[in-house]
Symmetry: D2
Subunit: 401 residues, 4 copies
């Protein structure tokens, strides 16, 4: 990998740390840009009280000077504003309070049970603090840097919710551009007012029942240069790298590209996207003079971007912590018990789109830097531009002949 | 990664090479074991003439002595039996014949177009030879070694087709054990005689129409020790690693774990798997004394195996080379054209299950070696056994109290 | 890699961040243990004023609870106590002060010149802040965690200076145990009182001349279990991994293992270490019943540890920032100039041993976890113990027969 | 890593396999080019009979068509011409002969003893076959591809022996260009006729005594573009990556860059290389308009290439298999024994230079592709050229002002 990122931090710990390594120098960066993404992650109807506490914002620790990346690792800290209330329970050293308040009734659907057995812990808190979706704030911060880089190359990444709590959204066939302007305007990030109100009711109902809801999110990246990723080796294929990044988001149980599972049900003649030449375009274009008459492939063929919009969908299961707790076993007695209830949301699907966007951005930025190299933004842009021109030139030669 | 594998080879080249690095020493290995998996990959109703030519078999090149792995990299060669007929077109050096027979009408759905632009080639054959699904034979060979290792730890991996050409299979709720014995007995690898004959007809029909079909495959791994993978970092999560491995198989457009997309549509109370103690079991068990009253999670929670069967599904699009070719552009003239037709199958879904099994085996073997370490089979088994006993002991202590 | 670490931070930035990922859970950790190593890094005769300011100490950010590792990434922050004085020059956003105080006379021996050209920067400070040896404080923090882990497996790591400013030290043939207790007692970390006073004079003299001094350091790790690393692939060989880790320390220009370059000058009969059985030992021993009658190999054969003490040496060039500055070119005018003088030390050789120890510890801990696996300290120790017993048992069988 | 390579194969196995992944497409490649390097590896006064048998040559298995790389993994096979004589002892399956001819007297200085204990083998042949220096033929083949790539960027890599058997060579201060033309003309690859005849006598003498000799090799790479590698993170620093690659060659015990250990003994004023502007050069130059008035740094500052010649030295211990065998222990009886004698050379130092060149080439090619990206040779060259021009332009601007 050309671009690497690491996160650290527990849900109720001192804070979350993100280190992003491999960015070119000279990329304009501002905390407000990152914080905007962090705020987007906290939005969405159906969230609990924690969201109000969070009000996440980063503090630069390293790698940025005078509003530009230095080429060195960028480190960001998201301080946990609630730390004072958790300092006893999460103390780094000393353990008086800690021993008295163990979590011993593992919650189904969480890492709790397997975690305590694998890591040989007595307190499921030692596991759940890290397995918590809180970690995704650090991913969103990392993803914001990748997104900022991609912007310089004309890439726009957005998402919208396509189903929630079983209610399927009828999004318009042509998605608005930019996508997030529209989807963020909806409390549940859908592009269908009718479905929106149904979903809001469904969330209210679930809350009454102490239940939780999942859903499906679509992420769309426009303007991605053709030829990112590769067909040559299994671990260079971009579809696999995207799937890994998306499925690694907590609670995700499915990933689709383009038509996805629907592609498996249609005949080939109704799946593959015919190739045509593109109408004359001004300047270099991400598609280099070609177009597909449809985009069932979702912008990926042979593990490479085609220049058409990249379209991926993820399936998020309902939140695992229910207010009407599930059956479990108490690890101190071996007897049947009700799972611990940590305060929780009804659904996090709207916000999960922001996380999925971040992971897509990180994968695309990595693939872009892999193909174009470069240690300064200018160098990477120069290489990128020269590639588009060379592909266009070759093709122009053909069309002129 | 503890276990690494690399493949090389073009579809009509001299052969395919696979190198698997990181296996412990002392693992019993025989060519016949690997060849059995290669034969399984060539099965399935709906395949073209190529399958008869292939009759793949490996030749050991390195890493195996006296029927055992040495701990050094294992290299295998699958010779292309048709090489004599392709030697001109695929010659390594010299290029008389090559220049005359270029592929210049890129096939939609393939790597052809993006590949020639990205890699700056004049002949799409330079791309399609590597992007071909033929490469998956090398993956199956690698996967066979991983499968052989996992067998020593009580893991059984199988697969079956759950839909093909739009026909949904009604598999029995309790899958047969071992799974492949039943699924391999069906020409389309389904566990539903009624669906089987419908699917066979659908394939015949597609063949008449010059069309192709996709489908969905379910892979099940039983006996996987709880605690493989990890929740601590995004790239250690086993769900992400499985998704990458599966989505990197050519033609895959979707991956699901457990309930998958269905999990996104149900309320949490109908998704998460309650935890219970397990009936007394003889000896150490992969689940260490616990069980889930359902397995909607598909054997993965928090990016770790739960000890329940691992269940993943992949969606395969129809084969991209149609006998009624799709519209494309001729790269030498810029004018509209019909895509090149390489001889092809109607569907490869039944065989794709074998490839998906191989990729799952490689990911699980890697995760197993990561957790248990070991340079000899005996050492890895000793560490594995000691872990199961320690987890069981701790838990027994609780149950006895 | 099983154990990964990342550092971030500029020399005069807000602080240094270290993330260590892959440690087992349950490792006892205290800030004081890490700080002790940080203090050792600040010692040594010949350091400038900066050392007094530094007084480095870590703050836990993540991965530690109640004095134990959680298995999740451990993040540490070393705050820069001088930050207030640098906030203008190193401001993350906004750039008034920054533009006025550029470093434009690159210092020979530093990353300055190549860095500004490669990363396309106008101010060499954008490079030198990260290329500074200050970054090694973050490595020492990471290494302290690795050292703590290795202690649990009976490994003791120490170092001493074997030459400084051209004065060769006559260390006793049998090094004291523990090594650091003796070497840390010397202001220049040598085990030879006569050489010590000569070195101190040489440093004083160099200071008068505005010059700087380099030297050689020997790191010794005792009690390392035989069989870490591997001969099977080039990038698994432990000698290569150690060389990479050591040569990556700023200012290092040479690495030797065991006899090192001297081994190249002797005949084979005077180099290779005869193998013998070991006197009866109580309990499991890192050497498993064997011993070498000499240790010219420095504890490594075939890329694997032999159980004998691991002995490596590094050559550190003199500090590149001289008070009598070297000739260079002014990047704003193209004319000849004197290199920028940042306040600096005469020599950092004594402290460099602490950094070298840290890098050795990180490599050994990685190799140990790779071989023994384990997610909790107890599991890794159990696997380690079982290996030593198995090797011993096999060999006892032979000796009894 | 952008460029990856894997080798497989035992010393007396069927052959050696090398897979090189990540090369751009369009690189002209011929077997003869690779074989030339393989022949260079077999040269040198002091080699035993095996060298005559070897006559290594590659067979392309994958990744090359019509004399050009395809961008897909390149696989090469070096058949072992002696395989027929070893088929019994090294049989992949079945083990009649194998059980009767075990190697049980581990040779000091080899992987034998640690290997059998670590990998739990009864026959040291299971270890020594892979730990053998024969594996380096596969590295040389891989390195030849890297060398071929670097040639396109004006890089010339050569080596010469600087000491052998304790005799120090007085190479001319200005090394000949190209270096290998001169050094290959000497039977011991030295640039000093007097030392040459002394060395030849020393080898003859050692042979009479049943002894072996080591030595030191210097590798020089000219024309390496400034700015490969990086200062930003420990594992991106080029000095560390070179050290790892070189120290991973069997029998290497030391690595130096530039002045190396000598740099540790001089004052800073006699070490660091003053920076000056360069005389007007025709066209883009690897140094971008600068030069160093000396090259004590060996072409690396801050983990990056400076554009000056890259100079590294390695120390090779004497061959470990002596005809007057060393003392060891018989693993079947526990009693003292003489080490097994495999037929062997007196010295392999001259040939080792070729291996060291290969490893340097692989590291530089990787770093070059990392910086410049590119999927076709043309693209990488275009990016490289644009970088040199941009650096030159910026600097010209300064000089003009």
């Amino acid at each position: 990998m050309r671009l690497r990122f690491t996160t650290a931090g527990e849900s109720h710990g001192k804070g979350l740390v993100t280190v992003v390594e491999g960015l070119p120098a000279g990329l304009p960066l501002g905390a407000e840009y990152v914080n905007h993404q962090l705020r987007r992650r906290m939005q969405g109807y159906g969230r609990g009280a924690r969201m109000k506490i969070e009000q996440d914002a980063i503090e630069w620790l390293a790698g940025v000077r005078a509003g530009e990346s230095l080429g060195s690792p960028v480190a960001m800290l998201i301080v946990n504003r609630d730390w004072a209330n958790w300092e006893d329970v999460m103390a780094h050293e000393g353990d008086g309070e800690i021993r008295r308040r163990r979590v011993t009734r593992p919650r189904p659907g969480h890492a709790d049970l397997v975690g305590v057995l694998k890591y040989d812990r007595l307190d499921a808190r030692d596991i759940l603090e890290r397995a918590s979706a809180r970690e995704t704030a650090a991913r969103v911060a990392a993803g914001a840097l990748a997104r900022r880089l991609l912007e310089e190359f004309g890439v726009e990444i957005g998402s919208h919710v396509v189903s929630l709590g079983g209610i399927v959204v009828s999004a318009p066939p042509r998605l608005p551009v930019p996508l997030n302007e529209s989807s963020d305007a909806s409390p549940v990030r859908v592009l269908d007012p009718e479905a929106e109100s149904e979903i809001v009711s469904r969330i209210d109902e679930a809350q009454k029942n102490g239940d939780t809801l999942g859903g499906e999110i679509e992420v769309v990246a426009r303007g991605v240069t053709l030829g990112l990723g590769s067909h040559v080796s299994w671990d260079r294929k971009l579809d696999g790298r995207l799937a890994a990044a998306l499925m690694s988001i907590p609670a995700m149980k499915g990933v689709e590209i383009g038509l996805g599972f629907e592609a498996a049900r249609r005949p080939g003649s109704a799946v593959h996207d015919p190739i045509a030449t593109q109408e004359a375009v001004q300047g270099a274009d991400a598609r280099a003079g070609f177009q597909r008459l449809s985009n069932n492939a979702g912008g990926l063929e042979g593990g490479m971007t085609t220049g058409e919009p990249l379209v991926v969908r993820v399936a998020m299961k309902p939140i695992s912590t229910l207010m009407s707790p599930l059956k479990t076993v108490d690890l101190t007695s071996g007897s049947e018990a009700s799972a611990q209830s940590e305060r929780s949301d009804v659904t996090a699907v709207p916000a999960a789109g922001v996380i999925a966007e971040a992971m897509v951005a990180l994968v695309l930025a990595d693939a872009l830097l892999e193909k174009f190299g470069g240690d300064s933004l200018e160098e990477t842009k120069r290489n990128h531009q020269a590639y588009l021109e060379a592909v266009g030139r070759r093709w122009d030669g053909v069309r002129d002949s």
